[in-house]
């Protein structure tokens, strides 16, 4: 049985596994890091092990702004993943690889070189992420509108940027794709900048800040109101929470001081009665606690507090202009992508918006997007935003499906073809 390696090569995370399976074998950062204490660069999965102290670690990534710039580093990361995590021999397997939309020809050439000359893969298929997400969603709901109409609008909020891409009959309509140059990395860095200026200097702590962002950030449904709440002192402030930094001795990873405190804001989005109950309960527990000693920030204990940063950071996805980036927000990005398509396709696309990518994991992301989008969309069109159950893996699962389909072998370019025709001619087969 010939096996297909499915590799969703994101700028932030590599998702790698064997085609046909439900979940990838490895989900590891696409980077190497070097902690202060050592001279060795740690590869991908080694960065995730719990006993590594990543304080002030230097990071190197093969990607810059979402595109591959360092093929050597990428190749060494891949070889690490193939031999240690997947345990495959490349010369006996095919590869399904994702690449960013509008990949530059020079980058495609160097990718092909890695695949066929460094690793000797038998065959290669290159796909873009929107079509794979579409494929996966269409197969999940065979009678849903996505698969009946054979079209969807995939919004991929990734690590380096966000793409809104119309997909029609499993092909991405590349003339309709719109890109917003904001992604998870920029948000993490923005958060880092805010925290470093306001409380503790964490400019070196990439991994820590990612963790803070993932655990604490959420999308606000009413920014003006939430800013007012964030200003309140003491118990009325539903957003304040404290994050404890690693001390390097007892714990090497940071953590939330009080996970309950971090969830308090959720009461805003439930009904009023529940809110009052929760607040009352909160007051009682607080009285029990020896007067707000726990909520004051203790500078000797290396922790920092967050209030409005928690929602102002993801907010930038919706209004990049606030950050000084002269680009339209996510909602407008979607509208522009859709309106550049054929007018018969537009109502269908508005009804089948699919959110994918790690940045969409912020709580209330989809609701906020719908709130922003509705005023921009004509009344006569229905609007439906679908979230994926696991947005980080959506692309990979689509790839896994494609790899297990019977036609897959016919779609690939083989090593022999590559050797005869070269990279550029082979690439024409993939229509991008």
């Amino acid at each position: 049985m010939n096996n297909v390696v499915v590799l969703d090569n994101g700028a932030g995370l590599i998702k790698a596994g064997i085609g046909g399976e439900r979940d990838p074998t490895a989900i590891v950062p696409n980077s190497t890091g070097r902690p202060l204490s050592s001279k060795k660069w740690l590869m991908a999965d080694q960065l995730l092990s719990p006993d590594v102290d990543l304080t002030s670690a230097t990071v190197r990534r093969p990607f810059d702004r979402g595109y591959l710039i360092n093929p050597d580093l990428q190749s060494s990361l891949w070889s690490h993943i193939f031999s240690n995590l997947l345990n495959i021999t490349p010369s006996q397997s095919s590869l399904l690889l994702t690449e960013p939309l509008f990949n530059l020809p020079s980058i495609q050439r160097s990718l092909d070189e890695i695949v066929f000359e460094d690793f000797n893969f038998k065959a290669l298929y290159v796909s873009d992420s929107p079509s794979l997400v579409h494929l996966y969603e269409a197969s999940r709901r065979p009678y849903g509108i996505v698969s009946k109409a054979q079209s969807s609008l995939v919004v991929d909020c990734g690590f380096s940027f966000t793409h809104a891409s119309p997909v029609f009959q499993n092909f991405t309509l590349n003339y309709g794709v719109k890109r917003l140059d904001l992604g998870g990395k920029a948000l993490s860095n923005f958060m880092k900048e805010l925290v470093s200026y306001r409380s503790v200097n964490l400019m070196d702590e990439n991994f820590l800040m990612d963790d803070v962002k993932e655990k604490l950030c959420f999308v606000s449904l009413d920014v003006a109101r939430d800013l007012q709440i964030a200003r309140k002192p003491g118990n009325d402030n539903l957003f304040r929470c404290t994050y404890v930094l690693p001390d390097g001795i007892t714990h090497t990873k940071g953590f939330l001081k009080d996970p309950e405190e971090a969830k308090k804001y959720l009461s805003l989005y439930n009904d009023e009665a529940a809110t009052k109950q929760q607040v009352a309960a909160g007051e009682q527990t607080d009285k029990l606690r020896s007067n707000d000693a726990s909520r004051r920030i203790d500078l000797t204990k290396n922790e920092f507090g967050l209030t409005n940063e928690r929602f102002l950071v993801p907010e930038m996805m919706f209004r990049p202009a606030d950050l000084g980036l002269n680009q339209a927000g996510l909602a407008e990005c979607i509208v522009r992508a859709i309106s550049s398509c054929h007018s018969h396709l537009q109502p269908l696309l508005y009804e089948s918006i699919i959110l994918t990518g790690g940045t969409t994991l912020f709580p209330h992301f989809a609701q906020r997007l719908e709130m922003d989008l509705r005023p921009l969309v004509p009344d006569k069109y229905r609007l439906k935003i679908t979230t994926q159950e696991d947005p980080i893996l959506g692309v990979w699962r689509g790839g896994s499906l494609l790899a297990s389909s019977p036609d897959f072998d016919a779609m690939c370019i083989t090593k022999a073809e590559y050797e005869e025709l070269g990279s550029a001619r082979c690439r024409k087969r993939f229509f991008h």
Binding site: S31, T58, V59, R60, R61, D64, R65, Y67, I69, D72, L73, L101, F102, L104, P105, S106, I107, S160, H163, N174, Y175, V177, K178, R179, L180, D181, K185, A186, N189, F190, K192, E193, L194, Y197, R198, M203, D204, N206, V223, A224, L227, A230, R231, T307, N308, E309, L312, R319, A321, D322, L323, G324, L325, N326, Q327, A328, G329, E332, C333, R336
Partner: protein
């Protein structure tokens, strides 16, 4: 600080002349401010914050040498000869950035109907209104710093801003 500014045009001593171009540039601002803005957006895409701080220090030294330059060259004196080996190492160490690759790809030369990386960008927002958040505390900011154009919301934040961050981006 303000006094120095207003007098800087008239005074002729060496010391003020050293300061003047910097300050003038900071005041003339609009261009400089956009530069600072772009630098900041650039920083948001960087991996390690440490890497950027290194050249900043170099720049400060360079600015003492040639007074007239407002924008400092990154490497003021590239006079040291590099051996072939060093060059090869340097080439290995620094892969091209994406912007360099983009420039090399020469996408502008393609006919206008071909969708490319450049044409896929969303473009500017339809409404130019922009919310301003205080750079110190994050709440909505009604005031602008006269010197550097950053925002703050209250006198309290203004003092903090002046003490810590003001002009750092611009000067």
């Amino acid at each position: 600080m303000d006094e120095e500014l207003s007098n800087s045009a008239r005074r002729m001593s060496m010391r003020t002349r050293k300061v003047a171009p910097k300050m003038a540039a900071a005041l003339a601002s609009s261009d400089n401010r956009t530069q600072a803005m772009l630098a900041r957006l650039d920083a948001l895409e960087s991996d390690n914050a440490v890497v950027e701080q290194q050249p900043l220090d170099d720049d400060d030294e360079a600015s003492l040498d040639d007074e007239d330059q407002v924008f400092h060259k990154k490497y003021p004196k590239g006079t040291k000869r590099k051996t072939r080996q060093a060059k090869a190492l340097e080439h290995k160490r620094a892969p091209k950035t994406f912007l360099e690759l983009l420039h090399e790809a020469n996408l502008e030369s393609l006919p206008p109907h071909v969708p490319t990386y450049l044409r896929a960008a969303v473009g500017p927002p339809s409404s130019i209104s922009r919310r301003h958040f205080c750079t110190v505390c994050g709440f909505s900011a009604n005031y602008t710093c006269v010197q550097c154009g950053m925002r703050f919301c209250s006198i309290k934040c203004q003092t903090i801003h002046k003490d810590t961050r003001c002009l750092k981006f611009v000067a």
